[in-house]
Amino acid sequence: MKVFKAFEYRRGSTILHRIDPRSKLVYLILFTSLTVYFTKPLALLIIFLSFLPMVHVGKISTRWSQSLRGSLFFIVFIFVFNFVPTAYYSGNLFDAAISAIAMSLRFLNLISVFSIFFLTTSPEDLTQSMVQLKIPYDYALTFNMAMRFVPTLSREAQYIMDAQRSRGLEMERGNFVSRIRNYIPVLIPLIISSFRRAELVADAMESRAFGASKKRTSLYVLKMGRGDLLFVSAAIGSALVLFAVNLLL
């Protein structure tokens, strides 16, 4: 559940927090694309290292490293499930290891870049930037609310687990199948309460006249500044450098 926490926005005043979400979106898209495009472990490692200064500037190192620790299980999983079949079919252990490492690094990079983005971007700003990017408000809001309820959901899951463990449920007991079945007493209350909450939110929105007027105006409008220009150019510049490095490797 710590994984979710790592994407939860906390107010901050660093440069990274103040930059327009649209600029950060450019960064996000560029580095996601590079991560997906690169296949050499070394190149992927360089991308990973390039996140360190970002994390430092944004003062999010604790939460970012939490996100990495939380995803350790998945990384091991990805490594094993890439290594074993490749090694088995090709018989070349070295190549299999290289491609499995690349896959794991790729996942690590994706987690990192999304974590950096969401940790420093407030949900309100994100919605606003989506609206200014001409995405219909309903979709922007849906996206925002989905993000908004992730921590709520994880907290709720914790409450439910506490309650069921107090009734003697041992999540870690038994073989693979019975372990999955152990989750039923947690998942059912979680799903039911999510539906109930969705209805409550809908009611609350309607009682506050959601959708009453066709044309919405905003109290705050996002503006791109000189800092944004600098940030976007730096992002594009470093992406080009990384691209060149990848070719040379």
Partner: protein, 271 residues
């Protein structure tokens, strides 16, 4: 017997949810823990069955340090019922819901059937035996959640906000169930905001504020202390408030005593 010694716990936000709490609860005591929102009441009771382990200090339940055992083992001794029944209920029928904990603890089927039967009757749920718990009303769900823990007969019973959403009849019933269990030698701990419920039914009260215990003693002595009530932002019992406003010599939370006190005061004024 529960011994809590110098327990400190923080959720990692720089605030101590519990800040050096000492508390001793003897066997077959009936006590209430009260305090403002965020005082640390729920954090404290989560230590009793090992859901949380103290970061400093220790918690000894029936001679066992909670750090050295599992929640599943402790849960047999300490029955913890949480505030929100929606966090608990998941089974297809009320009957299955009640047998969940019993099955987890590995009781034989005849024993399970017997205990489920007891709980259905004790909590007036017999008519709902085959109903889905999700179709019940809020108060009924609350009773199912209580029954689903009490049915496995834990020695120590901890209830987090058991009176929310209950009408006065159900509250009285709950009070008599608790008194009954207590008479059978069970230790009962009630975490609550419902100060009138405490004043009417619970003999000992522990007052918490900002992660600390600020008062602990007989209910009739603690709830008439203005300083304690104010420090913990508790709405005092109406009788205590009446006592203060009338300037009675010996404030009380007992109706008969107040009436007697007022009578004497009026007599004095007539002379």
């Amino acid at each position: 017997m529960i011994r809590i010694e110098g327990v400190t716990y923080s959720y990692g936000d720089g605030i101590n949810a519990l800040d050096g709490v000492d508390l001793e609860v003897k066997d077959s005591e009936l006590l209430a823990i009260v305090g403002e929102n965020g005082a640390g009441k729920t954090t404290l009771v989560k230590h009793l069955n090992g859901l949380l382990k103290p970061q400093r200090g220790r918690v000894i339940v029936e001679g066992v340090d909670t750090k050295e055992t599992t929640v599943a083992t402790l849960a047999k001794k300490v029955g913890l019922v949480f505030q929100n029944p929606d966090h608990m209920l998941f089974a297809e029928t009320v009957e299955k819901e009640l047998s969940f904990a019993l099955t987890n603890f590995g009781l034989p089927p005849e024993e399970i059937a017997k205990r489920v039967e007891w709980a259905l009757i004790e909590f007036k749920l017999s008519n709902y035996r085959d109903r889905s718990p999700f179709t019940l009303s809020g108060g009924e769900k609350k009773r199912v959640s209580l029954a689903s823990v009490l049915c496995y007969d834990p020695q120590i019973i901890v209830l987090d906000e058991p009176t929310t959403g209950q009408d006065s009849l159900q509250k009285t019933r709950l009070a008599s169930t608790l008194a009954n269990l207590n008479r059978q030698g069970k230790t009962v701990i009630v975490v609550t905001h419902d100060i009138e419920f405490v004043a009417d039914f619970i003999p000992r009260v522990v007052v918490m504020s900002r992660g600390k215990i600020i008062a602990d003693g007989p209910t009739e002595e603690i709830l008439i202390r203005k300083d304690v009530m104010e420090a913990s932002s508790i709405l005092p019992p109406q009788l205590a408030e009446l006592s203060w406003k009338m300037g009675l010599n010996s404030p009380s939370i007992n109706t008969d005593m107040i009436v007697e006190e007022i009578r004497q005061m009026l007599r004095g004024e007539q002379k």
